[in-house]
Amino acid sequence: MRLMRLMNKMKENCFRVCFAGCLVTWALVTGCNKPPENATNGSGSKSITVALMPKSKGNAYFISCRKGAEEAAKELGVKILWDGPTEPDPAKQNEIVETWITRGVDVIAVAAENRAGISTALRKARGKGIKVVTWDSDAEPDARDFLVNQATPEGIGKSLVEEAAKAMNGRGEFAIITASLTAANMNEWQKQIELTRAAKFPELKMVALRPCDDLKDKAFNEATALLNAHANLKLIMAICSPAVPGASEAVKQSGRKDVKVVGLGLPNDNRRYVKEGITPSVILWNTVDLGYLTVRACHALATGELKAGATKFSGGRLGALEIKGDNILLGQPFVFTRENIDRFDF
């Protein structure tokens, strides 16, 4: 019995020695190692590394952005790191940014899931001499050098309500399907939608708001329940990309001709419904161009071509673009309709 206990103790001790050994080796090697590779202010000869982060991976919207980003990277000879959390989560975005800081990259470009949540990490990156760009959605202004602005929340809210009003002839009930109740940018859009509605279209009435967890199937179920619960519903506004085809399919299957869908979505996902007339219009910007422009801006920032206070920016195949303050503007949101949707493939 005593022997057994002794052995157990020995086993535990051995394990401890092992663990301590591990730590010591790490400490030793770290001690002798040269200081971390610093971010270079690319003189042109050394290739520039740009770390790009979408809000979440596995989202068709960001996949099309990535296409553009890779196109620009090939043109400019930039090395791209593309990674992000698998679910939109500010803490996980933070974690990856902080790991990138350790890794040492030249530019970090983030589509912020949450304004305040990401800014801490981005400020830290700037403190270490890494250039920071936000794209798609912004962080705190002092946490980044530039924002690649594809459309302002005001612009999105305004276009959505205008398209909705057009489809509803200016009056009636509508419902909103959002991704989740906690998504920061969607809450911002809802605020803008409400502002525009109150100011310009007071006869529109929002009757319900439902989350779909960014899932098409759930959006379908929510839209079906909305259609059945609200007999006077005239329009469903889907403000996350999987929700638009989901809601359109629900309207189609319900057989109700008096209900339309508008929303923010990719043309490829919605082509079928736009052509059938269920969805008179889908609003979005050119996401491929957004990715392309972001990498262009990152490169220019790293090489020093782009400096604070600039008013013009040459965006490669996009031509000269306007810079307003520290916002690089991609242009106005684009409205895809039955007439023009076939010209786009993303």
Binding site: K57, A91, I96, G117, T182
Partner: protein, 333 residues
């Protein structure tokens, strides 16, 4: 007690994990950029504190044969309540923090009450409170409200560095880990927890206050989740209803990888810490090696299965050779 002797005493999950950790360190030191730096060493530790706290507190729960799926949701709810107390009730962060931890203990004990008084399986109880806590967090904030602009003195807990190198949350984590380690491995209470994990009836007949101990264990898990919420809020700089989504599974993964039996009774806090280390080093190393984030999940799943199968295999082998040794002994006698 495990009856192992000679070289066989080395055959434990700890050894497997230590080897695995060394292997990771070896691989990543070749493939990853800036992996072998003091900065990264502390960064890895810093980023693992929230999950680490949850995993450490989950260990005694699982040791008793239970499980707590609600810790991630509780983290979210506590983060919200902390924000609410600080911003809307105007309490100083310290007081709000203490109140939040109290709330965490209370809600954790609620799980305990349902488990002990109604004799419901912990899996089901905490599955319910998993939805309930997250639901309350969303209802309180309407999903929209976001607490930010905390005072710098509080943010230091999650963003500051002591002496310029040691992350401020690290001592907190080490203290909690040490306390739980002592509780589990060096006290009669800890031994009682294992006994309950092996057999609740047996423990009851042996005179252990099973119900009240269980209450304490779930209360502890709740309290530590609340502490983890504070670290999370200070680290990210904001409190929102979606804080900590999915953390419960990460914490359980670390605990199980660390050799704690999901049926209870067997396991250790240092095993959990090793399991955690294997997971976070892998994550950090993969990102620094420019690998996509999906790989982290895939490797985690595969590791979990291999390590546990490996442990079973080793146990099987050692039992076999043990039998052979005994036979030999008998013959010589």
């Amino acid at each position: 007690m495990h009856d192992r002797s000679g070289w066989r005493r080395w055959l434990g999950i700890e050894l497997v994990l230590t080897l695995l950790l060394c292997m990771e360190l070896g691989i990543f030191s070749r493939t990853a950029t800036n992996f072998w730096t003091a900065q990264n060493f502390f960064e890895v530790l810093r980023l693992s504190v929230e999950i680490g706290l949850l995993a450490v507190a989950m260990t005694p729960v699982i040791l008793t044969g239970g499980i707590d799926l609600s810790v991630g949701s509780l983290l979210g709810l506590c983060a919200i309540c902390f924000g609410k107390l600080w911003r809307d009730a105007g309490l100083p962060p310290l007081v709000a923090g203490i109140a939040t931890i109290g709330l965490g203990v209370g809600l954790g004990s609620l799980n305990g009450v349902l488990v002990t008084r109604l004799r419901l399986p912990p899996l089901i109880v905490t599955l319910g409170s998993f939805s309930l806590f997250r639901g309350f967090a969303e209802a309180i904030t309407k999903g929209v409200d976001n607490f930010t602009n905390f005072p710098a003195s509080f943010l230091f807990l999650g963003q500051g560095y002591l002496f310029g190198v040691i992350p401020a949350q690290l001592p907190v984590f080490m203290l909690v880990a040490l306390a739980v380690w002592l509780l589990v491995h060096r006290t009669v209470i800890g031994r009682g927890l294992r006994a309950m994990g092996y057999s609740p009836e047996g423990a009851l007949y042996a005179g252990l206050p099973v119900s009240s101990r269980l209450m304490w264990v779930y209360g502890l898990a709740g309290g530590v989740s609340a502490l983890s919420a504070l670290v999370y809020v200070a680290h990210v700089g904001q409190a929102k209803a979606d804080a900590g989504t999915g953390y419960e599974l990460l914490a359980i993964t670390a605990v199980v990888l660390g050799g704690t039996s999901i049926f209870g009774g067997k396991g250790s806090v240092h095993g959990t810490l090793l399991g955690l280390a294997v997971l976070v080093v892998m994550k950090n190393g993969l990102i620094l090696s420019d690998q996509p984030g999906e790989l982290v999940g895939i490797v985690t799943g595969v590791l979990l299965l291999t390590v546990l199968s490996g442990e079973l295999l080793m146990k099987f082998l050692s039992r076999k050779s043990e039998v052979r040794r005994r036979e030999r002994l008998l013959k010589t006698r």
